[in-house]
């Protein structure tokens, strides 16, 4: 077997794996779309009665509404129309905002993405950093301090954090704005700091805990002990063997947390008067704005699927053992 055939077969194996992966993602999304679509129509409440908002419409009026929104079409047809639209980037029209769902989402998405981005950064820097410190300084005063902070942090719900941050740093000290998204880069960042802390405080604690545990696991391993006993510098061993091997679980947990954030932003967004996907989801559910709810749920599922795929892709890069195992499969 020549070197070129080997690489070719390896390539095709990778291609097949990638194709399988993509197909899996597509099937997941398709199944989700069906579940989302059907569950919302099974939910109690008639969208037509929402649309007339508390009036007693005449039969003619009601018929006009039902026809206009296609409520009378058979279910599979409605699903097909919707799916067809989604595949063409058309998520329908919001009953509530008299606007296309795309426009509604697009106006809310940037704020939420910024919030999640800043939160993710905080989780990565503070969470992982504290985890490393906690593992390396285990048993010392610093280590105990980290442990205490983790315990407290994990127990603080984001709405409590929001209230405290808002009243202390916002209202009393006046260091941060208490409402709105802000305009311009710096102002937006200024506005997003408190909400991001409120949103990520629990997640930071979780990541710190996972990081510490993974590091300690690795430090107990034989090769690390051997390396240290042979007199390799501790710093190098920690960086090249412990931290690198511990990154796997950290990335997995981190990825899940960040994609999960998309649904947990609602409370924080409301508390800080920000407009994002979270508060939009709550409002749309309350007002039976089906088209918007469907789009957001699909978006959240897609985010999960994509982040998971990314985590899987990143794993072999950071952990040679995974790469080797993948090649042998």
């Amino acid at each position: 077997m020549s070197a070129s055939t080997l690489s070719r077969s390896a390539l095709s194996r990778t291609a097949i794996a990638a194709a399988r992966r993509l197909l899996g993602m597509a099937v997941t999304l398709l199944v989700t779309s069906f579940l989302v679509f059907s569950s919302l129509y099974l939910a109690p409440g008639d969208p037509a009665s929402f649309l007339v908002r508390g009036r007693s419409p005449g039969p003619q009026e009601l018929a006009a509404i039902r026809q206009q929104y296609g409520f009378d079409d058979p279910f599979p047809l409605r699903y097909w129309h919707w799916l067809d639209g989604v595949l063409h980037g058309d998520f329908g029209r919001s009953y509530l905002f008299h606007q296309s769902v795309g426009e509604v989402l697009w106006s809310r998405l940037p704020a939420t993405l910024l919030l999640i981005g800043v939160s993710a950064l905080m989780i990565a820097v503070v969470g992982v950093g504290a985890g490393i410190v906690g593992a390396l300084r285990r048993g010392t005063r610093t280590g105990s301090a980290v442990l205490l902070l983790v315990t407290v942090g994990a127990a603080v719900p984001s709405f409590v954090a929001a209230i405290v941050l808002r009243s202390v740093l916002g209202v009393n000290l006046g260091w941060f704005p208490t409402i709105g998204n802000g305009t311009g880069v710096l102002d937006r960042l200024h506005h997003v700091v408190l909400p991001a802390i409120a949103l990520s405080v629990t997640f930071m604690a979780l990541v710190t805990r996972v990081t510490s545990a993974a590091m300690l696991d690795e430090m107990r391993r034989e090769h690390v002990e051997v390396a240290l006993s042979r007199g390799l510098p501790r710093r190098t061993v920690i960086r090249r063997h412990v931290l690198r091997n511990a990154l796997g679980p950290i990335v997995t947990v981190g990825g899940l947390l960040v994609s999960g954030m998309l649904v947990s932003t609602a409370i924080v967004e409301t508390a800080f008067g920000m407009s994002g996907i979270g508060s939009l989801l709550i409002q749309s559910v309350d007002e039976l704005d089906f088209q918007v709810v469907q789009a957001i749920v699909l978006l959240v599922v897609a985010a999960f699927v994509v982040v998971n795929a990314l985590v899987d892709l990143v794993h072999p890069l950071i952990d040679p053992r995974v790469r080797a195992a993948g090649g042998a499969r």
């Binding site: 109690p44 409440g45 008639d46 009665s49 929402f50 649309l51 007339v52 908002r53 508390g54 009036r55 007693s56 419409p57 005449g58 003619q60 009026e61 006009a64 509404i65 206009q68 029209r93 509530l96 905002f97 008299h98 606007q99 426009e103 509604v104 106006s107 809310r108 704020a111 209230i163 808002r166 009243s167 916002g170 209202v171 006046g174 704005p177 208490t178 409402i179 709105g180 998204n181 409301t270 508390a271 800080f272 008067g273 407009s275 994002g276 508060s279 939009l280 409002q283 559910v285 309350d286 007002e287």
Partner: protein, 542 residues
Amino acid sequence: MRPSPRSLLAAVTAAAALTTSACAGTAQQTGAAAYKLTSTTPAAAGDIDSFTWSLYGEPTSIDYAYSFDFPPNQILANVCESLLRWNPDLTTSPSLATSYSNPTPTTWVYQIRPGVHFHDGTVLSADDVVASLRRNLDPAVAGDWAYPFRNVQSIDKTGAMQVTVTLKTPDSTFNQYMAASPGTVESAATLAKDGKDYGNPADGVNCTGPFAFSSWTSGQSLVLKRFDDYWDPQLKAKAGQVKFVFLSDPTTRVNAFRTGEVDGGWMVPAGAYDQLRDTPAGTLYFGQNTTVADEVVNNLKGPLGDARVRQALLMAIDRKGIVKAGAAGVGEVADSLVTANNWNGAPPSTAADAAKALPAYPYDPAKAKALAAQAGVSGQKVVIATSPLDSQTTIITQAVAQAATAIGLKPEIDTVSADKYTALFTDPAARQGVDLFLTFWYTSITDPLDMYGSLQTGAFSNYGNWSDPKFDAAVDQAVGAYDPAAHAAATEAAQQIAMTQLPWLPLYTEPVSVFLGKRITGVQPSIAYLYYPWAAQIGAKG
């Protein structure tokens, strides 16, 4: 007019986070005044570049056909104008119609004001009025204001600047509604051009008011800018710009007042009255309202089917206590389903008579218990629906449950989500098994008929399907009566029946509240803010 379910919640939420405040004092009725009504705040010393105003929620559209709620209406009141104007003292006066006449009982003729410009520079014509009013009749539009148009036969241009509305039967309330959203005039060309997108965040509206729509950042804020070609010098805007921000959380809103990030807002959470009354950040004012908190009797087949039980229940509710604990003392026990303000249009003597003749239900648990015993409903269950919206709702619900116990009933409190609570007002299925639920009901015109009309047999908001032929006849007679005395007399007869039969139990009335930050002044506090260009009067504080 019945408020949309959201408004009902809104009104409830407005008084969110209520606490039994120690220093709020007692309501006016009991002597020491805890609050005073203000008809106007100090006039503005001059113009101001811009101010920021808070809304408890984002409008879903500013199309006047769907503006049936506090957020869209308080914005639209400054942007779009109606044929008539509802003034802060709750009277009506000419606006886009310079005059109107009623040559026959079934025709209303409106003379349209010449020389009025739309925000895009075009000039107002009778065609714009016809196109705007007709939308309310269009089933495809399915607007929120079909009710005031229920007696309308046709709407036609009958002169270069004249529009005639022909009714199927005489309707004395129709003309009054022309001072609210139903009478809004929009450019016919814009309506045709924007179609379904009319009034949405991208397209906005094109009207004649002192402010023009500028921009709407969905979920965030809506900006209006001064319209320089506005026709009425009296109401030319003093601010160059108004920015409305949407803050649903009551605490967030109050914090924004305190930090000065927001300059003001209507519907201050009652729990924050004390915090905002005397603050360097600004001043809290109270004004005239047409809102009554009521307990709706939803089931007349249960123990509450007997009028004696409903009377007994009302007598056993400690309504003064509710005002004190639930509304921070700012409010008064209601003697009917409408406020005294609703009688402004009636001859003064008639209004006074109407108030005097009303049956009274003073707090008397012992007498109430005896009355309920006569009906033999002792031990029967009543379900009171509520939602954990805020402590005001909780306090009222507890008081009603206590009263039910006091007259021998077995109350059961059914706590539902806010979203399901909203559904009570629109969905009969959601109301199944519920005997009582709370509402805050306001009227959009200064006429008690707006309320009593909604209790006629078959009316949508007659939730308990209460039916009394004499009541229906009295309301019909009042709607058809143009003579103020005859109109008031028939309305009074209807009110008398409603207050004896108690299809709903009136609890208390509360004033409109408004907070003005230290930078601004000039507004006239009144429920008319839903239709009157109030923001135009706000300017810089001296």
